[in-house]
């Protein structure tokens, strides 16, 4: 079977934006100095809040080591998904791009784990008639729903003007019931599992 796009533009992995390595080091360091972490002053007491005398905002007490999930972290979660027809990642194919990921409200150390956070990912299919756009979108949605906390609402859309049937694809990807049913389809589930194999 011919591929929809036999010669896609490919980006070099080393040129893709990522925070992966840095995060790994950071977490190793954090575990080494657990005691330090426990003993040191909460971050909210350092600048620019150090001039506020003991805040009565006790809720943020145990949140001070939690980093907010930002666009880069979302990108790192989905850029490693494999394209269903090329042996390349969605990041390499520029199907997912950091500027096309939007989080609202913008990332901050949210005190309330119940606060709804919307993650909007606009994907760019490699060509305008890519029949696999829905499958790719589904992969992105499934990956993020598995990886993100339950207060995140994931919306995956086709980037405007990059696909001939973007309204139809968008509506399918937004339909919870269709997504749930799709995941019970053995064939489709197999394709998705293969795409997500390369995610760590």
């Amino acid at each position: 079977m011919d591929k929809d796009n036999a010669n896609p533009t490919i980006l070099n992995v080393s040129e893709l934006p990522t925070r992966r390595d840095r995060r790994k080091k950071a977490s190793r360091k954090a575990s080494e100095s657990k005691l330090d972490a426990i003993m040191r002053k909460p971050q909210y007491l350092s600048t620019p809040f150090c001039d506020i005398p003991w805040s009565d905002d006790t809720e943020s007490d145990d949140d001070f080591t939690v980093e907010p999930i930002d666009e880069q972290e979302v990108y790192d979660l989905i850029s490693t998904i494999s394209d269903p027809e090329h042996p390349l990642s969605l990041g390499q194919l520029a199907v997912v791009n950091l500027p096309d990921i939007h989080i609202s409200p913008s990332p901050s150390v949210a005190a309330d784990p119940n606060t709804l956070t919307r993650v909007l990912v606009k994907i760019t299919p490699t060509i305008t008639h890519c029949s696999l756009a829905t499958v790719i979108g589904l992969g992105v949605r499934v990956r993020l729903e598995k990886a993100l906390p339950p207060n995140y609402r994931v919306d995956v859309m086709i980037k405007e003007g990059t696909h001939s049937q973007d309204d139809q694809v968008n509506k399918q990807l937004a339909d919870k019931e269709r997504v749930a049913a799709a995941l019970e389809n053995v064939t489709l589930k197999g394709v998705l599992d293969k795409m997500l194999e390369t995610c760590v």
């Binding site: 119940n114 709804l116 919307r118 019931e177 049913a181």
Partner: protein
């Protein structure tokens, strides 16, 4: 598509949030959740029409809960290869006989029966409808959970996932609908109740997208025009429309109206449980466009009907109407209210109370909103102007500009009422989406005995596998946390 902004819930410590212009006057008080937790997405919980039982669809099975003990009563498993999305109780059966239909993503519907006459032997103690419950509660522990539900019939025919199943009020008909864009109506033509000789009486193919839900109009004393059969079905679709179906007297089911207005998938619909003022029951629909709408049948006086006879009946309704549909069967439905828009994402479910007329809605934003209808015939200046236009149109020449049914207002138009939000409960299931909300009677021990079977509660069903009852309470003067 939902609007781009996600609602930022307020701090949960302040439960008296006022995100709308209207100050809430009620609040929801969470009651102990049904046990056990299901620990997986649950889609829907349907109360039995008369008995204190609640059927919750989750994954490939249904768990039936007791509304008296708020614990599991029985379960229906191993009947479907994929998730059960929807379930409906067959009405009008004798106590000790239960019948449940399950609609599944495996594209089949299962009909299950529970016959308890041999087990309890106390069939005479259930004149109040509670016999089953008493008996079940007493012997709950001893019973093998799956023992008494039997899958009797598999209704096969849909090409893809069944999204919704519903019995007609008499139990004569069963409607199913699917992603295959069709609605099927089934009838048990067997001589006796348990014969289960089910036949397809209609396959309705007019929707242009998945049919998400079906609902039968409750039996009504309203004087629906005589030329129809008594059963009325409505369907909601991914094509953003709602259709109303009737049997034409010759056994043919036809689409009598297409309700257009929603700007996204219509996730569901419910008929007004008790119609008011002798009018035909209204229809409530809810959608991915974050609105809940109320539609009313334009009931015409006899003389008006004659006057309208020469109109081009099909002008404004759209291209989806088949030419086989006769003019005499057409109905005009008008959107007569849009409830205050509070939800920020898809509304997956809403429920209209038979006893208070209140509406509850919920969905992807995890918020539960309670609304109340206020005022009778609206007397605002605007409406007067409308009435005058309507009156003018009815006078004399009546051009009846064909193709615009919404402009042809009639003197006896539907009641114009307004709805206000009376409570707003964010994070009903914490951070999770809520898939379903329903009103049901209370039988639990937290309810005073004299109010059991009378007082209502809300039950919500969520992605977290929790089935949670809520008591509606009057808002005390000021909530301090």
């Amino acid at each position: 598509m939902p609007p781009p902004e996600v609602g930022v819930e307020e701090d949960p410590s302040t439960t008296t949030t006022t995100t709308t212009a209207t100050t809430p006057t009620s609040k929801l008080h969470a009651l102990p959740v049904f046990k056990p937790d299901l620990y997986e997405r649950a889609w829907q919980s349907i109360p039995h029409p008369t008995l204190p039982l609640l059927a919750t669809a989750h994954q490939k099975s249904v768990t039936v809960f007791s509304l008296a003990t708020l614990t599991s009563h029985s379960s229906l498993a191993n009947g479907h290869e994929r998730s059960v999305r929807s379930t409906t109780w067959k009405p009008n059966l004798p106590p000790h006989k239960l019948c449940l239909v399950t609609g599944s993503f495996d594209s089949t519907a299962g009909l299950w029966r529970w016959d308890d006459t041999g087990a309890g032997g106390d069939a005479d103690s259930d004149s109040d409808g509670l016999g089953l419950e008493v008996e079940v509660t007493a012997s709950d522990k001893a019973r093998d959970d799956d023992k008494d539900w039997e899958l009797i019939v598999v209704l096969d025919g849909h090409d893809s996932e069944i999204k919704s199943v519903a019995f007609s009020p008499s139990g004569q008909y069963l409607a199913t609908c699917s992603r295959d864009k069709s609605v099927w109506i089934w009838e048990d033509v067997g001589a006796a109740e348990a014969d289960d000789d089910w036949e397809t009486v209609a396959v309705l193919n007019e929707h242009e997208g998945d049919v998400k839900a079906v609902a039968w109009c409750p039996e009504t004393t309203a004087t629906a025009r005589g030329r129809y059969g008594t059963d009325v079905l409505a369907s909601a679709s991914y094509d953003n429309t709602v259709r109303v179906w009737r049997e034409d007297g010759d056994g043919e089911w036809v689409c009598v109206a297409v309700l257009e207005g929603h700007e996204g998938t219509v996730w569901g619909l419910q008929w007004e449980p008790i119609s008011r003022d002798g009018r035909f029951p209204r229809l409530m629909t809810w959608s991915a466009d974050c609105t809940v709408r109320i539609w009313s049948l334009q009931e015409e006086d006899e003389e008006e009907e004659e006057q309208e006879a020469p109109r081009h009946a099909w002008g404004g309704i759209g291209s989806g109407i088949p030419s086989t549909m006769r003019r005499s069967l057409k109905e005009e439905w008008e959107c007569t209210a849009t409830l205050p828009k509070v939800h920020t994402r898809d509304i997956y479910s809403a429920a209209w109370s038979a006893s208070t007329g209140r509406v509850a809605s919920t969905g992807s934003d995890g918020t539960i909103i309670l609304y109340e209808e206020t005022g009778d015939e609206s007397t605002t200046a605007d409406t007067h102007a409308d009435d005058e236009i309507a009156a003018a149109e009815l006078d004399g020449d009546v051009p009846m500009t064909n193709g615009h049914p919404e402009k042809t207002k009639k003197k006896k138009g539907p009641l114009k009422r307004t709805w206000k939000v009376i409570s707003n409960t964010p994070n009903g299931h914490g951070p999770y989406e809520i898939n379903h909300v329903v009103w049901c009677k209370r039988y639990d021990t937290g309810c005073p005995p004299e109010k059991r079977g009378i007082e209502e509660m809300l039950v919500t069903t969520g992605d977290d596998g929790i089935v949670r009852p809520w008591e509606v309470m009057k808002e005390e003067t000021e909530q301090s946390s």
